[in-house]
Subunit: 171 residues, 2 copies
DNA sequence: TTTGGAAATGTTATATAATAACACATTCAC
DNA sequence: GTGAATGTGTTATTATATAACATTTCCAAA
């Protein structure tokens, strides 16, 4: 099991990621209880693995890690079903441009999927912006389009990587 | 070969799509000549097929249509390489949420990939918005993120489908 | 006009991502 | 406890994309 006690970078800022994870797990449990849906052991384990990674995690990477943690064999449907549940509950997001999954930082609010994705370190920073949403709405209105959902995926350099000079690196 | 002379709906408005296609092809040819890159017969054929469809086209659908038009066998790399070229030249866009490709309506300008996608009829409407871009930039600035590219994919109902009552249908 | 190298395409195999279909197990309300 | 609903296991398959190498085409310099 990876050490989660080291401060690591998420959302481009230094922080103790182990706290981050435990908060997310607590929130998830209470949210599921509230909604009357079952956050089973498997689903919780998958959510935990996703949160442990500071990068979006692919379904097959997730499968491998799951197989490593448990003894039993883990087949694709196992993780995909867990992911489906977590997506439905708004506990994780899917990054379409990466075919990868990442924990949602504020699952209590209704919101869209907006991410800044660093090309260098791979971090995916979730963000929200009222002006952004309203200009999007304005564009849709002009064309008579009714918005149901949307996703914004921005690729570039996060602050840390930009400061370090834009050379390829991990952190 | 599908009849392209019938007015069909793209970008949510009625128009003669055959004109649309021929304009796109002419622009593509001159743009490639300008840049000194080769719009080969195959690439042109792929671009044409993409434009003929009023919905985003998957790579394998494209393969089938290509195989139907030509006699020779068409393998995945053939279409993927053509797509790669067309994407590089900004002549087509990839819709990540659909794994599908669509013709770019204004390949001369530098711009992002912003689409309104109708859940009912499948049409993908490209749009641009200055306020949208600037609020996105503002969000990135706040976090010290340097934007290199972005894509916005909005799902909902286009005007036609909304007017028709939101029931499932094609047009 | 030849020719040689770059670019494009063909070909075969394989990697990666996701789902279908059905069997078995667990949970929970009655 | 029982049975219906929900969740998980298992096997097979579909869908999407790329790697690696062979062959062809094109174009520019000799």
């Amino acid at each position: 099991m990876p050490d989660t006690s080291i401060p690591t970078a998420i959302a481009g800022t230094r922080h103790d990621h182990s706290r981050c994870i435990s908060t997310a797990m607590t929130t998830a449990r209470s949210l599921c209880a509230q909604k009357g849906v079952r956050l089973t052991a498997l689903r919780e384990q998958v959510l935990h693995l996703i949160w442990q990674s500071h990068k979006p995690l692919g379904a097959y990477e997730l499968m491998e890690q799951l197989a490593r943690e448990t003894t039993r064999r883990v087949a694709p449907p196992t993780v995909y079903r867990a992911l489906e549940f977590l997506l439905e509950q708004g506990l994780v997001h899917r990054i379409n441009s990466l075919n990868a999954y990442v924990g949602c930082t504020h699952p209590r609010q209704e919101h869209a999927t907006n991410f800044l994705i660093c090309r260098h370190c791979g971090v995916a920073i979730e963000f929200a912006s009222v002006p952004l949403e309203s200009s999007l709405q304005a564009s849709a209105d002009e064309l008579g389009f009714i918005i149901e959902a949307h996703s914004i995926e921005v690729v570039g350099s996060c602050k840390r990587c930009a400061d370090l000079g834009g050379t390829s690196h991990e952190h």
